[in-house]
Subunit: 396 residues, 2 copies
């Protein structure tokens, strides 16, 4: 029962209509992202209960790590308690120390800046590009040319005299960033690259999985992600020494011994429990289907927006050239002329039972990060006013 | 088929014999502590899968918190990802800052000293008493009289000039420490009391649940604990402001809003996922049975040791007067004459398929903590050579 489209209605009404059409006129509230359990989830959970292995020891953790290795192509994978924990340990393992600076996109989930703080280091916010929503590598290169100098193989911020130790780009909403460009920049300036692929499991850049280009990559399996372990994350690396250190640090740095309790350094209780890994094993088996659902939904949104002639007001973000995005969060970008209607659209779509969301708050505007270094952030600031995420996990 | 007891065999052989008798001659390897799932675990997990609520939102977290409130008598409970996370946030919430000192027993699991490190603070190790294995409050009082002075309502270490901000006693292996004594000391010296009840869910001091005496208490639900959520912990407090802050900080300090993503301070991803809370709800329903199993096992060990006339060589640790212990880990204390056989007993019991364990490594001896302040630790050092934990969760 398709409804007639009225050309005089406000943009928010038109967008609600487009969502309705795209989602096949759903009859109840639609969330931004709900998990989908279409495989062996319950049977693996039952196995945990039957064997009593639900916690820090158990075969599902090993199996989940192995299956993630196979899927991502990363040589080593360490499953952890969530993506934030993965970021924290990744930063420690590339040597982020007290007083170092870490380059982060201003347009980003808060976990990265928090993890920098846990290391007593300082976020340094950089700009994004509209095409991928990720770090603009060309702009970054010019900026670093201007503000840094090399000293003993380290990149020094000439103004603050601090070491710029690492750069942590995020593949925002699952869209791969310009990795070739960014790798060139981090190599040129001797900055460690940690890839935040929390949102991009299932996204490939030139046919290689995101999260495997940097010295370390991280994943997240929170409930809103493409697949979930309840709470969970992973550290990806091709470096055995880093992988061993990651496993050691995330399991309280305990010395391996059948009964002795001896600890070798300050460690973390960041291991993923076996019961959460069991869920992950079942979910990962279904990732091809989960990705198909998302791509189909993207096409449906694209078609409806087109059908309702909304292309002057909004566009839907498409995977970058040469990439395959997981389309984790479907993303509308308002055009310049419709940006002033963002809040109205957010309010009315949510009122209409469609859970939509604006971009992440720009990190450099949050009161606790506002005095930290930053470059010109024109594009990120403009994107903040343009982005609306749409319900992103409906099977249609 | 009971075996004959040979008076000439070595102590380790006798202890193996006592374990065998106590556990009714088990036919396979016996672990130190395995979880027991005797209730609604699977049905609650199924409910999570069916409703898709496995992660950061879900009714099991609320229900688990409510049921823990009812069970412990704590006015507020915040479920978190593990006991270490609970300790970290508890320390932050009593104001532990960079350079503060925190009094910890040297004989302790490593999580407390790690959590102090996460706050950039300094562990200050104190001695234990043999009766409870917990902090010796009389000895601590004398020590603090000697080394501290009061200044603006703060306790200052006269030697280091640092603030001694908090004291975090642990109810080791589930046995309540001398709380009345310690509360008197922390009050006298203006030191905040955080009770580490990670090991003592189900243990009561003067009929009041451990973890509810300090400004904050913490619990753990790791796989080896009396009940498990896979991985998990909780913060207990009677102070609403602290409880609200704990919930806020452990859920990334996100401002409450239907769709905006706005963060108010550096926060943590420490929430307990709903699927882990589901397990906790089922386990907590069975805590009376779980406690009965442990008490029965204690009595069985006591009887066998008596029967084999081992009382001159070892004694089994009994709940302190006026307390009800959960007997989480059954604990042998070697007498002075048998201490030299500790390693032999550990080795041979493990070889025989009984997973036994020594005491925690004394924290002040670990290389990364060895330069921190400490008092005379004679008793803790003696206890390290005396303690052997026995398999502690067999149903007999």
């Amino acid at each position: 029962m398709k409804k007639q489209f009225n050309v005089n209605q406000s943009l928010s009404k038109k967008i609600i209509e487009a969502i309705r059409i795209s989602l096949n006129f759903p009859k109840k509230k639609v969330y931004l992202h709900e998990p989908k359990f279409i495989g062996n989830e319950l049977s693996y959970l039952k196995e945990c209960i039957d064997t009593t292995f639900v916690s820090s020891i158990g075969e599902f953790v090993n199996r989940f790590e192995k299956n993630l290795k196979n899927y991502t192509g990363s040589k080593f994978v360490v499953a952890v308690v969530n993506g934030t924990a993965a970021l924290h340990i990744a930063m420690k393992l590339v040597g982020v120390c007290r007083g170092d600076e870490v380059l982060l996109p201003a347009l980003n989930f808060i976990a990265s800046a928090n993890a920098v703080s846990y290391c007593n280091a300082i976020p340094h916010f950089v700009d994004s590009e509209e095409k991928t929503l990720g770090i603009d590598s060309k702009k970054l290169e010019k900026y670093l040319d201007k503000i840094t100098e090399q000293k003993n193989g380290l990149c020094i911020n000439r103004k603050t005299l601090r070491i710029i130790r690492a750069c942590v780009p995020t593949h925002i909403f699952g869209h791969p960033i310009d990795l070739n460009g960014l790798i060139k920049v981090t190599n040129k300036f001797n900055i460690e690259l940690i890839e935040d692929a929390a949102e991009s499991l299932g996204s490939f850049y030139n046919k290689t999985h995101t999260g495997t280009f940097g010295k370390i990559g991280i994943l997240s399996f929170n409930g809103n992600k493409i697949l979930t372990t309840g709470g969970g994350g992973a550290i990806l690396t091709n470096d055995k020494i880093i992988a061993d250190r990651a496993k050691h640090l995330t399991t309280t740095a305990k010395k391996n011994h059948e009964w002795e309790l001896f600890y070798e350094e300050v460690g973390y209780n960041y291991r993923m429990p076996n019961i959460n890994a069991a869920l992950g094993c079942a979910q990962l088996e279904k990732i091809p289907e989960l990705l198909k659902i998302k791509r189909k939904l993207f096409k449906s949104y694209k078609k409806s927006l087109n059908q309702l002639s909304l292309n002057n007001d909004v566009k839907i973000l498409q995977e970058p050239k040469g990439c395959s995005s997981n389309y984790w969060l479907q993303t509308l970008l308002l055009t310049k002329s419709s940006m002033d209607q963002r809040n109205d659209i957010l309010y009315k779509t949510n009122q209409a039972g469609f859970n939509t969301r604006p971009a992440y708050s720009l990190n450099h505007k949050l009161s606790h990060f506002k005095n930290y270094p930053k470059m010109d952030l024109t594009v990120a600031e403009s994107l903040e006013g343009k982005i609306i995420n749409l319900p992103s996990n409906e099977t249609i």
